[in-house]
């Protein structure tokens, strides 16, 4: 029998975003269902067994599983139901502006789940070797950093015996340490950019602690090995072009890729949610509502964060907006928010007049003295100085309500100081 379920709110994804959103909707009288394809709550936090989470959201340093338990506990209320081991494969909008989800699970079989509002919390996936089209052969021993992390931390299996890590994203750095702490050699981390892609503290405690070389402005130009990886060839880059005459070989049996994350918006596409090419996530208004009324998003499905605390904060904001939406008290204005110099994107993409606004940015530059400026209708209305801005670290600021006092266009820019 195909099950039919009906809720006020469906939260898709029970990671740091979905659970934080549900923790907010739980405070309302509305009924929420939280759906996740994994058997356990917490999403990717389950495999992030290292510490460093929660300083901002819980004012305490936690490991991933601890953070997951804490945020799950906030959502565990009588009006919140959890469906784990349940994969949503289709979403459609109904004529009454509600939504119907088609979901599969081993326990319940086929379910149709109806809800009046949705929170998208599907997170992101890792870019992989195929996305980069790294030349060479296709032997065993090539993993994304996250896949290797899952094998090691969840299954207790070593991905190999000696590894090279491609890309210096945080997961790659964390995995460098995890591999060394598992008896696996780490020969090198290879990064195409002139600066690390991960947080500085991870470079210190995951690479420097173990004497692992970090090759900046280098690229893997070949992966060799017929059955299992035998070695990689690495070349320095000059203006982005590999200098093959200076290439060198690193013997290894494992290559991990930590080369960026892509928001998982396949379900959002089915709903016709408008996406932002700069983030890979939805275009959202001040309430984190997407272009489809009643559909909200937060966390890595919206834009890739480097701190889980920001994921939960953003999702909690969206959770509160959902309650307003169902209450009929949502204030949704169309004043555009955009970026100009030195910023890759801003989230959200609209603001409400007379309300405070929270904005996240991804800088395009590395600088130890930069000013973030906001112009409302061409008039400089706000600025803040930053020491150490870099693409690896998201900026998040709050603009007070009195600044956003007229409708129009809000433009942010990042000015490097001379």
């Amino acid at each position: 029998m195909i099950h039919d379920f009906s809720y006020d709110i469906a939260v898709i994804g029970a990671g740091a975003a979905g659970l934080a959103a549900a923790a907010e909707t739980a405070k309302s009288p509305f009924r929420t269902v939280v759906i996740d394809r994994e058997d356990q709550l917490g999403g990717i936090l389950r495999q992030c067994i290292h510490n460093g989470f929660g300083l901002r959201y819980f004012k305490e340093e936690l490991t991933g599983p601890e953070y997951a338990d804490r945020v799950a506990a906030l959502a565990a209320k009588p009006n919140v139901e959890f469906k784990t081991g349940t994969a949503v494969t289709e979403i459609k909008r109904l004529p009454d502006n509600g939504f119907e989800l088609l979901a599969f699970s081993a326990a319940e079989g086929v379910s149709r789940i109806r809800a009046r509002a949705l929170f998208l919390g599907m997170g992101c996936r890792e870019r992989n070797r195929g996305n980069l089209a790294i030349p060479g052969s296709r032997p065993a021993g090539i993993f994304t950093a996250g896949a290797a992390q899952k094998l090691l931390n969840i299954e207790g299996m070593l991905p190999g015996k000696s590894a090279v890590i491609v890309g210096s994203g945080d997961i790659g750095l964390i995995m460098a340490r995890r591999l060394r702490w598992s008896g696996v050699e780490v020969k090198a981390v290879v990064e195409i950019m002139p600066h690390p892609s991960g947080l500085t503290r991870n470079v210190v405690q995951c690479l420097n602690d173990f004497g692992i070389p970090l090759y900046l402005e280098h690229s893997v130009v070949n992966i060799a090995g017929r059955e299992r990886v035998q070695y990689v060839e690495v070349a320095p880059l000059d203006n982005g072009i590999p200098q093959l005459d200076r290439q060198f070989r690193i013997e290894c049996d494992t290559v991990l890729f930590s080369v960026g994350l892509i928001p998982e918006n396949e379900l959002s596409r089915q709903l016709g949610v408008e996406l932002n090419p700069a983030t890979g996530g939805a275009i959202v208004d001040a309430n984190l509502q997407t272009s489809v009324p009643g559909v909200f998003a937060g966390g890595n499905v919206l834009h890739v964060h480097d701190l889980v605390d920001f994921v939960s904060e953003e999702a909690a904001d969206a959770g509160r907006s959902i309650v307003h939406y169902l209450d009929g008290t949502l204030n949704s204005q169309a004043n555009p928010v955009t970026v100009s110099a030195n910023l890759k994107y801003v989230v959200p993409n609209k603001f409400n007049t007379g309300e405070k606004g929270t904005y996240s940015f991804r800088p395009l530059i590395v600088s130890d003295a930069a000013t973030l400026e906001a112009e409302l209708n061409g008039r400089l209305v706000w600025k803040r100085k930053f020491t150490y801005v870099k693409p690896a670290e998201m900026l998040k600021v709050e603009l007070p309500a009195e600044i956003l006092n007229e409708s129009g266009t809000l433009v942010f820019r990042l000015q490097e100081e001379a």
Binding site: M1, I2, R37, G85, A87, T89, L102, F104, S105, A106, A107, E108, G109, V110, R125, E126, N128, R129, G130, N131, A133, P135, G136, S137, R138, P139, A140, G141, F143, T144, G146, A147, K150, L151, L152, I154, E155, G156, M157, L158, K161, R180, W181, S182, G183, V184, E185, D209, F210, G211, I212, V221, N222, R226, E227, R228, D253, T254, E266, R269
Partner: protein, 488 residues
């Protein structure tokens, strides 16, 4: 003792085994790699060609291509594999190219291909709106299509086995001897197999198998083709296979709407020294993208989800060599099966059967032939109602393991139970791990299922057999020592 042993479980060998399995014969199929179709067939472009690229008067490959093409509808009905006769377009972007287009069209007509249609620009754009509007003209071959080549091989072998054919994988033939009217083939690991007839369908290594059996000496050259696979969401996916005007060496670089919903661009055609060299290169990706971007709109390197390379086995003659050996008795050569080998393969099997008959092998149809493979369910292709019924029998049907391609645990279990115990074997059988995350999320889960169902410990699982171990062992088997000296 077998009546016939077929060396090589690619499209040619599998098709031959399937044909012969309908007769009262003991048939064995031996494969060098860990699974069937893991050689040339695995990296095929998956096109059922239209029968116009080569002259049927001049080449065996064209004759078999035309016959093979006609056989696929029945085969799909019986064996159940993804195949769509969605048509082929050959497109020209200059008047000069139109000269070749007219010649090809004419050749197709002379070959007896029906329903070919010369098209002007407007007609082409009507047939395929994804084409670059600068297209000048071309022709349409509605008989062409796309197929999942490995699934086709799996289906053939499954049916052959159901009708009594034995399969031996990891069987690399290193010698062949004929004594007392009986062939003995010996594998690298020492196993032997005895048979009255040998069919050499060893793909890239058909020259070596021929040589070790004392048959004809010839040389198989490897011609590499690199392919790039684009995400399901790629706006470039056309409705029909789009061919450029061909060159002498190859049919050119195409845009292929694969039978399973992705888009493939390629292949290149470059000689490879090493018959195991399936490496891809950075230059070729750029070249392919540039070339296909001239034909269809919306091609982007951002949509590339993976790349791979295959090798075509090529003889100097550029034609197929399918014949009884003139040097040794009871030995059939099936060599040089390059493009359009996949299209021709059903006809190749029949052709080989006829050669065996000519050579005196008595062919008596089995009393009971199982023509159809049992229905093969896939979560992605079933209605919710059907899945609900499947779930009632087995909850694994609604456990989604591969999210990108929507593959259930039940499909993975089925693959393992049918003998596909490598990660690639499961991937090619089910598509699990073939989607946009390329196994990032599901590999660990699939490995656990393979291990549980096959009894092979996790640490011994391989990607594709041999020494392609997926893991480095259990955590704790290497002592942790992070002192700086230990790093040396």
């Amino acid at each position: 003792m077998y009546d016939a042993v077929i060396v090589g479980a690619g499209v040619s060998g599998a098709s031959t085994a399937w044909q012969l399995s309908h007769y009262d014969l003991k048939v064995a199929l031996v494969e060098r790699w860990a699974d069937v179709g893991f050689g040339v067939s695995k990296a095929n472009s998956g096109i059922i060609h239209g029968g116009f690229h080569h002259s049927a008067r001049k080449t065996l490959k064209a004759r078999l291509e035309i016959l093979g093409n006609l056989m696929f509808d029945k085969l799909q009905y019986e064996l159940d594999f993804p195949f769509h006769r969605n048509g082929i377009l050959v497109v020209a972007f200059s008047d000069e190219q139109m000269v070749t287009v007219r010649k090809l069209y004419q050749q197709g007509v002379e070959n007896g291909v029906r329903n070919l249609e010369m098209c002007g620009r407007d007609r082409l754009l009507e047939l395929e709106p994804k084409l670059n509007p600068e297209v000048v003209g071309g022709f349409y071959a509605p008989n062409g299509g796309t197929i999942e080549p490995y699934r086709y091989v799996f289906s053939l072998v499954e049916s052959a086995r159901r009708n009594g054919c034995d399969l031996f994988c990891n069987f690399e033939v290193v010698s062949g001897e004929r004594k007392n009217n009986l062939w003995t083939l010996t594998a690298a690991d020492g196993r032997t197999i005895k048979a009255r007839y040998v069919i050499n369908a060893a793909g890239l290594f058909a020259d070596r198998v021929s040589a070790v059996c004392g048959a004809e000496e010839f040389k198989i050259h490897a011609r590499k083709g690199e392919e790039y696979l684009l995400d399901r969401n790629s706006p470039a996916r056309p409705g029909k296979v789009v061919f450029p005007v061909p060159s002498r060496e190859s049919k050119g670089i195409l845009v292929i709407p694969t039978a399973e919903g992705t888009t493939m661009i390629g292949p290149t055609a470059d000689p490879a020294e090493d018959k195991l060299d399936t490496t891809t290169s950075a230059d070729n990706m750029q070249r392919i993208v540039t070339l296909v971007s001239r034909m269809v709109n919306g091609v982007s390197t951002r949509d590339v989800i993976t790349s791979f390379a295959g090798l075509r086995p090529v003889l100097d003659s550029e034609d197929f060599y399918i014949d009884l050996s003139e040097k040794v008795p009871h030995f059939v050569q099936v060599a040089g099966i390059q493009s359009p080998g996949l299209t021709a393969s059903p006809a190749i099997g029949e052709y080989v059967k006829d050669l065996l008959k000519k050579d005196g092998l008595e062919l008596v149809e089995k009393e009971k032939i199982e023509y159809r493979n049992p229905p093969h369910h896939e979560l992605r292709n079933e209605t919710p109602e059907a899945l609900d019924r499947l779930h009632a029998d087995d909850p694994a049907w609604t456990h989604v393991v591969c999210r990108c391609e929507k593959i259930s645990e039940a499909e993975i279990i089925e693959a393992v139970r049918k003998g596909h115990t490598t990660l690639d074997g499961v991937k090619f059988y089910t598509r699990a791990g073939m989607g946009r995350c390329q196994g990032g999320f599901c590999s660990a889960k699939i490995m656990k299922i393979i291990s549980r169902e096959s009894g092979i410990p996790m640490e011994e699982l391989t990607k594709k057999g041999g020494n392609s171990r997926l893991l480095g062992g259990k955590l704790g088997t290497i002592k942790v020592n992070t002192t700086p000296e230990a790093a040396e």
